[in-house]
C-alpha cells in the first residue's frame, strides 16, 4: 500500500494539467494463449492530450514527412511539398523556417528526413540529392554532403537520401532511395564506409519451384526478388540503430542493429509484428522511436497505432487509432518521436501533430521496469503486483513479478506467477530450484520412499520369475477360465497380450476368446486416459494446460482415431484374403491399448514434478507407451488375418492410403454439401430480394 501511495504522490508531482477521463479508442493488447495471441482488454497507457494542426502551429503544412525532437525538446518538421523546414521550441513556438526564400545554397527541395546532433541540423534533402547541414540554433547554412566518396559505388549511383541518423562518433546513417544493399554509413565528410544490415528477402519453396519450371519470359513477369529498402531509422543513446521496413515479405520488419550491422533484436514467442489479428493487411511500420529502459515504440500507418515493446520484444501496450474525426486517430501517420513522457505522432494526412500523454498506469510500468533492470527486485515486485491489480490481463507482469520472486528465492510463489503468465521455461527453472529445496529438506524421507519403491518392484519381479519357473513351458500365455469375472478375465488377457501378443491374438481370432465389450471398454478407458493426460500433465509439458476442455471434441477425435483405421483396414484386408473380421480388428485395437493405459497416466502424474531438463525422459516413456501399443496392433493384425510379415506391411500401407481416400471423400462430400447449401441460400436470398 505504501508503494501505491508513493506512486500516486509521484504521479501527482509529474502530472500535467491535461484533463482526460474517457479514451477516444478502445484499449487492448495481446496475451499469449494456446490459440496464439489473443486480444485482451487493458487499461489505457497513453491518452491523446493535444492535436496541433498547422493552424495551431501558425505555419503552412501540405505534406509533412518527418518530425524530430532534440535533447532540449525542440521539434523540427520537414514538408516535402512546400520544400520547407520548420523549427519549433519545446512549447511549439516557431523559432525559424528554412523555406524557398532561403539563400540558394540553403534552399531545400523535397526534404524527407531531419535529425539534430550537437547543435547541427541534418536534413535529407532528397530533391537536391544531398544531405544539407545547418546550425540547429538559428538555421544558418553550414555545408552539405552532395557526393559520396567511395570506390565501390560505381558511376551510376545516385545519392537520394530519405531518412537519416547521426551517431555520436560522427557517422551518418542514411536510408536512401534505391539503396537496396542496406543502410549507407558515411563519414561527416561524405566518405562512404559501407552498407550495413541488408534486408534479406524470404523466398518460399513454391517460388523456388516456379523458378525451376518457368521460362525466362514467365520469370520476367514475376516480381523480382530483391532486397527491400528500409523505411525509417532511429538511434538510441547506446548508438543502436532501430530500423523499420514497410513491406511484410522481409525476414523481419523491425531490426535493432549494432554498429557493425548485426540484428540484435530480441523477440519472444510473440514476434514484434504489430497487430496479430487484422482485417485486411498486417501492420505497416513507418517509424520507430526508442523510449526509456530499452523500450521502443513503432508506428503502424494502417491502423494508426503505436506499439510499445520492451527490450525483450514483449508488447507492453498500444494506443491510437485510424480515423479522421477523433483526437488520437490518424489518416496517414508518418513520423513518431518520444519526448520525455510524451509520444508525438505526425499525421501526413491531416498535417497535424498529436501529443500523447502518459497515464499513471504506464508510468508505474516504466518505474517497475526501471527497478527491475536495476535489480531492486523487492521494490519491483511491489510495483509489478500493483500493475497486476490495475491490469489482470497482463501476462508479462506475471512473468516479471514471478522473476522478482525467483530472485528473492520464493520458488513456489514464482512458480505460481510463471504459471499464470504462461512462462514455461522460467516455471521449469523455478520448479527445479523448488524440487532441490524440497529434496534437501526431506532427504531422509525421499531416500526411504525410493528404497520402499525399489524394494517393492524388486520383490514383485522376483515373485514373478519364481512363479513362471513353476509353470510348464508350453502354456506360457494366459488361458482364461470362463468362471472368472468379466473384468478380471479381460484385464488379465490384455495384460498377457502385452507380453504374448502372437498367442493371445491367435486365440482371440480362432478360439473366440476376445470380447467386443471388453475392447469397447479399453477404448473408453483410453478416452478417459487422454482426458486425464490432457488435464493432469505438468504445465511444462502440456500445450493444452489451462485451456477449455471440450468433451465432445475429445470424444469425436477418439472415435475417429479408432473408426478410421478400423474401416480402412477391414476394407483393405477383405480384398486381400484377410481372415479377420471387423470384430477381430476391433478386438486387436482394444486389447493392444493396455501399455498406453498404464504408462500415460503415470507419465502425466510424474511430469508434474519434472523440469525441462527431464523432457527427454518424458518423451522416451511416451514413445514406449505409444510404440508398444502400435507394435501390438501390428502383430495383432498380422495374426488375425494370418498374413506374412511382408503382406502385413503391404496391407498396412494400403490401409493408410484407404484412410486418406475415406478422409478425402468425406471432405469432398462436406464441401460439396456446403456449396449446395450456400447455393440454395443465395438462391433463396435472391428470390426474396428480387421479388
Amino acid at each position: 500500500m505504501k508503494t501505491k501511495v508513493l506512486c500516486i504522490l509521484l504521479a501527482l508531482l509529474l502530472l500535467c494539467c491535461a484533463t482526460v477521463s474517457a479514451a477516444p479508442y478502445g484499449s487492448y493488447s495481446y496475451s499469449a494463449s494456446s490459440d496464439g495471441p489473443t486480444e485482451v482488454a487493458v487499461p489505457n497507457a497513453y491518452l491523446p492530450t493535444d492535436n496541433l494542426s498547422a493552424v495551431d502551429l501558425g505555419v503552412r503544412l501540405r505534406s509533412p514527412e518527418d518530425l524530430f525532437c532534440d535533447d532540449e525538446g525542440n521539434c523540427y518538421v520537414v514538408d516535402s511539398k512546400l520544400d520547407t523546414l520548420y523549427a519549433f521550441d519545446k512549447d511549439w513556438n516557431l523559432r525559424y523556417t528554412i523555406d524557398r526564400n532561403a539563400p540558394e545554397e540553403a534552399r531545400l527541395f523535397m526534404p524527407y528526413g531531419v535529425c539534430v546532433l550537437d547543435g547541427q541540423l541534418y536534413v535529407a534533402d532528397k530533391g537536391n540529392k544531398r544531405i544539407a547541414i545547418y546550425s540547429a540554433a538559428d538555421g544558418s547554412y553550414i555545408r552539405s554532403i552532395d557526393k559520396l566518396n567511395g570506390a565501390i559505388l560505381g558511376d551510376d549511383f545516385v545519392f537520394s537520401p530519405q531518412k537519416l541518423e547521426v551517431s555520436e562518433n560522427g557517422s551518418i546513417y542514411v536510408v536512401a532511395d534505391g539503396a537496396l544493399e542496406g543502410i549507407i554509413e558515411i563519414s561527416y565528410n561524405g566518405d562512404f564506409y559501407g552498407y550495413i544490415g541488408s534486408n534479406k528477402t524470404t523466398v518460399s519453396a513454391f517460388e523456388l519451384l516456379w523458378r525451376r519450371i518457368f521460362t525466362e519470359e514467365a520469370l520476367e513477369k514475376l516480381t523480382r526478388v530483391v532486397p527491400i529498402e528500409y523505411y525509417n531509422i532511429a538511434m538510441d543513446e547506446q548508438g543502436m540503430i532501430y530500423t523499420v521496413t514497410a513491406a511484410s515479405e522481409v525476414d523481419s520488419r523491425v531490426k535493432k542493429l549494432n554498429p557493425s550491422g548485426d540484428n540484435v533484436l530480441i523477440e519472444g514467442e510473440m514476434k514484434v509484428e504489430g497487430d496479430y489479428w487484422y482485417e485486411t493487411s498486417p501492420s505497416n511500420f513507418v517509424d520507430i522511436a526508442p523510449g526509456n529502459n530499452g523500450d521502443y515504440y513503432i508506428l503502424d500507418s494502417n491502423e494508426g497505432r503505436v506499439f510499445a515493446y520492451d527490450e525483450q520484444g514483449n508488447l507492453l501496450y498500444l494506443f491510437g487509432d485510424s480515423g479522421t474525426d477523433q483526437l488520437g486517430s490518424f489518416t496517414d501517420p508518418i513520423a513518431l518521436e518520444t519526448r520525455g513522457d510524451e509520444v508525438l505522432v505526425l499525421d501526413r494526412g491531416t498535417a497535424a501533430v498529436t501529443v500523447f500523454g502518459i497515464t499513471d498506469y504506464a508510468r508505474l510500468l516504466n518505474e517497475a521496469q526501471a527497478t527491475y533492470r536495476a535489480g531492486e527486485y523487492e521494490t519491483s515486485y511491489e510495483q509489478w503486483s500493483e500493475i497486476l491489480k490495475l491490469n489482470g490481463n497482463f501476462s508479462l507482469a506475471y512473468d516479471k513479478a514471478g522473476y522478482c520472486q525467483y530472485r528473492m528465492h520464493n520458488w513456489e510463489k514464482a512458480m505460481e506467477l510463471f504459471a499464470a503468465g504462461g512462462a514455461t521455461e522460467q516455471y521449469s527453472r523455478a520448479l527445479e530450484k523448488h524440487r532441490q529445496e524440497l529434496l534437501s529438506a526431506n532427504f531422509g524421507w525421499v531416500v526411504l520412499a525410493l528404497a520402499v519403491v525399489v524394494g517393492g518392484i524388486a520383490l514383485l519381479v522376483i515373485r514373478r520369475i519364481r512363479k513362471r519357473a513353476k509353470l510348464s513351458i508350453v502354456d506360457t500365455y494366459y488361458v482364461a477360465d470362463s468362471q472368472e469375472p468379466f473384468l478380471k478375465k479381460h484385464f488379465k488377457m490384455a495384460y498377457d497380450t502385452m507380453f504374448h501378443p502372437v498367442d493371445n491374438f491367435w486365440n482371440m481370432r480362432f478360439e473366440k476368446r476376445g470380447s467386443m465389450l471388453a475392447a469397447t471398454m479399453f477404448i473408453f478407458l483410453f478416452f478417459l486416459v487422454t482426458i486425464f493426460n490432457r488435464q493432469m500433465r505438468g504445465f511444462i509439458f502440456n500445450p493444452d494446460y489451462g485451456t477449455y476442455l471440450d468433451l465432445g471434441q475429445e470424444l469425436r477425435s477418439v472415435a475417429i482415431l479408432f473408426a478410421l483405421p478400423l474401416i480402412s483396414n477391414w476394407s483393405v484386408t477383405t480384398l486381400m484374403d484377410g481372415k479377420g473380421s471387423a470384430r477381430d480388428i476391433y478386438c486387436v485395437m482394444g486389447y493392444s491399448l493396455l501399455p498406453t493405459l498404464i504408462l500415460i497416466p503415470l507419465v502425466a502424474i510424474v511430469s508434474q514434478g519434472l523440469t525441462l531438463n527431464e523432457l527427454a525422459y518424458v518423451n522416451i516413456v511416451d514413445g514406449i507407451a505409444y510404440g508398444w501399443t502400435l507394435l501390438l496392433m501390428v502383430i495383432g493384425i498380422k495374426e488375425v488375418h494370418q498374413y506374412s510379415w511382408l503382406k502385413t506391411i503391404c496391407t498396412l500401407l494400403l490401409t493408410v492410403v484407404a484412410a486418406a481416400i475415406i478422409l478425402f471423400i468425406c471432405l469432398l462430400f462436406f464441401s460439396l454439401l456446403q456449396e449446395i447449401m450456400g447455393f440454395v441460400y443465395s438462391i433463396q436470398k435472391e428470390i426474396v430480394m428480387r421479388l
Binding site: E39, V42, W277, G323, D360, G392
Partner: protein, 838 residues
Amino acid sequence: MKNFLRTAAVLLSLVCVLSGCAPAFTQIESPDNATALLPLGEEIQLGSEAMEIAKNDRFTMSVDPAFLNIRVTDRLNGRVWSTNQEDPDMDSVALYETIDLLKAQLQLDYYDKNGNWGTMNSYTDCVANGQYTLHAIKNGVAVTYSLGNLSRTVDDVPQKMTGKRFEEKLLSKLTEEEQNQLKEYYNYYEEEDMWSLLKTGRNNFQDILALMDKAGYTPEDLEEDNRIFGLSVSSTSRIGFVVRVYYYLTEKGLTVEIPAEAVEYSEDYLPYDITFLPNFGSQKPSDENQKGFLFLPDGSGALMRFDSNISSSYYYEAPVYGWDEVVSLRSNTRNVSAEATSLPAFGISDGTAGFVAYIADGAANAKITASRAGRNSDQYTVSPIFSLINMDYVTLNGSTSASKTPVFQQDPYTGSFKVEYLILNECDSYVDMAAAFRGHLEANGILKKLETAAADIPFYLETVGGAYGPKSFLGMAYTGVVSTTSYEENITIAEALSEKGVKNLQLRLLGWCNDGYYPDYFGKVKLIGALGGSSGFAKLTEWCEQQGVTLFPDAHLLSGGDGNGFKKDYSARTLDSRYVEGVERMSQSLDMPLYSSWVYSPEHLLTLAESFLDSYDRFGLKNLSLADNGSRLYSDYNDTLSRSYDRAETQRYVEQQNALLTETMDQIMVEKGYLYALSGVDHVVHTATDHSWFLAEDEAVPFLQIVLHGRVSLGSEPINLAADYEEQLLRCAEYGVYPNYQLCYVSTTRLNETDYSENYTACYLDWVDTAADSWTRLNAVLSSVQTATIADHQQLTADVYCTTYDNGVRVYVNYGDAVAEVDGVSVPAYSFCMKKGG
C-alpha cells in the same frame, strides 16, 4: 401500373402546385397523429416584401419571399432568429451550388430503386421555381415545398412507334402541315413497320411535345409505346417530392414540424433523409460574438467555441441515442468508442442570446450535425438530419461474381419530425441552455424534481456474479458457469465496504442468473447453482433488507443470448433479413464483435417483460436494473412481421416495456439514460461524464448533469475501469455524479479466464480502500445537494472548475498540481472541496 398511377398522381399534384390550384392538396392525407397538427387556413400570397405572418406575446414571425426565409423576432431583445443567413450571396466560403444550399430550408437526399444517390434542396429545386404554397395556420405558416424539375424532357417523347399507332395516335389528329413537321423528326422503317425518333427530333423535342399535346397523346400512350418496344419505363417516372413544413410560434420560441406521412414521393425515388433547417440561427464569427458557441449533445455535452482556432475541416455528426446496430454494423463501423447522445438537444449562442433546440418527435431517427465556420459557409451551423426510409445493400454472391442490390425499409416512419427551438433572450453559457431545456422537459412532465433523498449519496456497486469459464469436476475439466461473486460473497464485499464507512449502498447484480454475464434469454429467471442457488440468493436478499442495502438485479430485456426458451423468431432482423448481431464487446483489432447477442424484435418486448415479471415475482424483490432499456435502441426490418420498425417505432415499444416495469417495480435503474427511457426511472448509472473527443469540439460540459441532477440519481461509469480513476473521481465531484465500481469477489485472473474478460481490474480486495475513500470524499461535497439543481457551472482558472447548486452549495474542483485559491477557498491540488452559502 400501380407504380405509374402513383407517379402520375405525384406529377399531377406537382403540376397543380404550379398552377396554384389549391384543391390538389386535399389529396395529402393528414397523418394519424394529426391532433398535434394545426388545420390549414387560407392560402397566403406573398408580395415582394417580407410579410409578417404571426405574432404572440413575445415573438413575431415573418416570411421573406426571396427564398422563403422565415424570421422570428424576439421582441424582448429585438434579436432576429432566421432559418437562413441574411445574405447568402455574400458568403465568403460558399460558391455556386453551395450558395443555393444556404438559401434552402431543407435538403432531401434520395435513392432510386437501383441504389443511386441524389439530392435536392428546397431552394434550387423548389423555391427558385416558385413551386411552393403557403397556408396560414394558428400562430404560423405551413409551407408546402414541391421539389423536383417539373418541365418535360426528351424522355416524354416516344422513341419508337408502330406505324399503326403513329398514324392512329398522332398523325390522324394533326393537320397536314403539322404531320409533315412531325415526320421530319421521325424516320419510317418499312421492314419493321416502325417510326423511330431522329437526332433532329431529339434536339427539337419541345416541338414534338407541342404536337403531342395537340394530338392528345397521353403519358399512358407513351407507356404503351415504350412497352411495345421494350424500352425502359423508368424514364416515365420523374423525380419529385412534396414536403410540408409547419412553422409556428410558441411561448418559448419557434416549433417546426414535418409530418413524415405527408412527405410524398414516387415509388421509384425514395427519400432517404432530410437535413432540416441547416442554417437556422447560424452565426458568423465576429468581434461581437467571440464568446459564442455551438452546443452539441455528445456524451455529457460538448462545445464548439467560436474563438478557438480549430480547423474547419473537422465537423461533427452523430446519431441521437447511439448507433443503430441493425444498420450501422456493416455500413458504419466508425466511432465504436464514441460516447452516445442521450439528450436530443443542440443549441447556438452568440455570447449574449441563443437558443436550445429540442427534438420532440422523431429524435430516434435523427442525427445531429454541426460545422465550423469555413466548411460549408462562413458561419457556424448545427442542425438535425432526419432519416425517412432506411436503405442498405444486400450482397448476392454468385460462384464467380457478386452483385449489390439495394434494399429499403418497407414501412416508412409515420410519426412526425418536430423540433422545438427554445429561444433564449439571455444565453451566455450552456448552463442557460440546460436550464431552459430542463424547464421545458419538466413543463412537459418528462422530468420531475426529486423531493427527498437519503442522508448520504448512493454508492453504486456492480458485482459480476458468474460467467462461462473453465471448471473441473473430479479432476475432469469442463466449461460451465464459474462463480466470480457468489450470492453470499456479495455480502462479504458489501460488509468490507461498510466497514470502511460506506453507507447507502446500491448493489447492482450483473451475471446473477441465466448462466451469468452475457446471459441467456430472460423469459424466466434461473438462479445459478454455482453461485449458491436459491438458498444463497435468499440469504443475500434477506441480508440486504436488514442492512438497508438496495438490491438491483440486472435484467436483459432487449437483448441476450439463446437458450432458456429463446426462439429465433424473437430476434430482430436487418434490412437484408439477417439476424441482428447485438454487439456486446467489439474486437479492437478486427473491427468485429467478440461477443454478440440476439436483439429482440419490438413486437416481442411486452411479452418478454410480462413473462420475466412472472418469474421474477417469486423473489419478492421490488427493484430492478435494466441493462439495455436506457442504452440500446435499434430498428427491426424483419419482413416476416406485419410491418417493419424503425428506431422511433421501437422506442414506443421500449417505452411501453418500461412503463410496465416501472408500474410493477418500486425502483428502476438504467444505464446511460436515453431521454425517452427516463420516465419513472430512479437511477441512471454509466452516465457519460465526457465527450467523444471529436477534433471538431473544444471541450466537454456537464449539460446532461445540469439537466438531470436532482431529477434522477446519477451514477458514473465504473471508476475502476476509467482511463484515469483519480481523474474520474474529480469529474464525479465536478459533474455531481455518484461513484460506481464494478468488482467481483475472485481475483481478476480468475475472472479473466471466463468469457467476461473485459474488466481488467475487478478484484474487490484491490479496490475496497480506494472505493470507500472516494465515496467518503464525494459524500462530503455532494450529500447536501442531492435534491438540488445545478444553477451554474464555471471554469474559474485553467485547472479549477466550480459547480454551483441552487441551495447555495458550491463545489470546487482543482485538476491542477498546485493548491488553488479561488473565491476565498483553498482547493487542494488534484482534489475538490465545497463551500456552503453565499
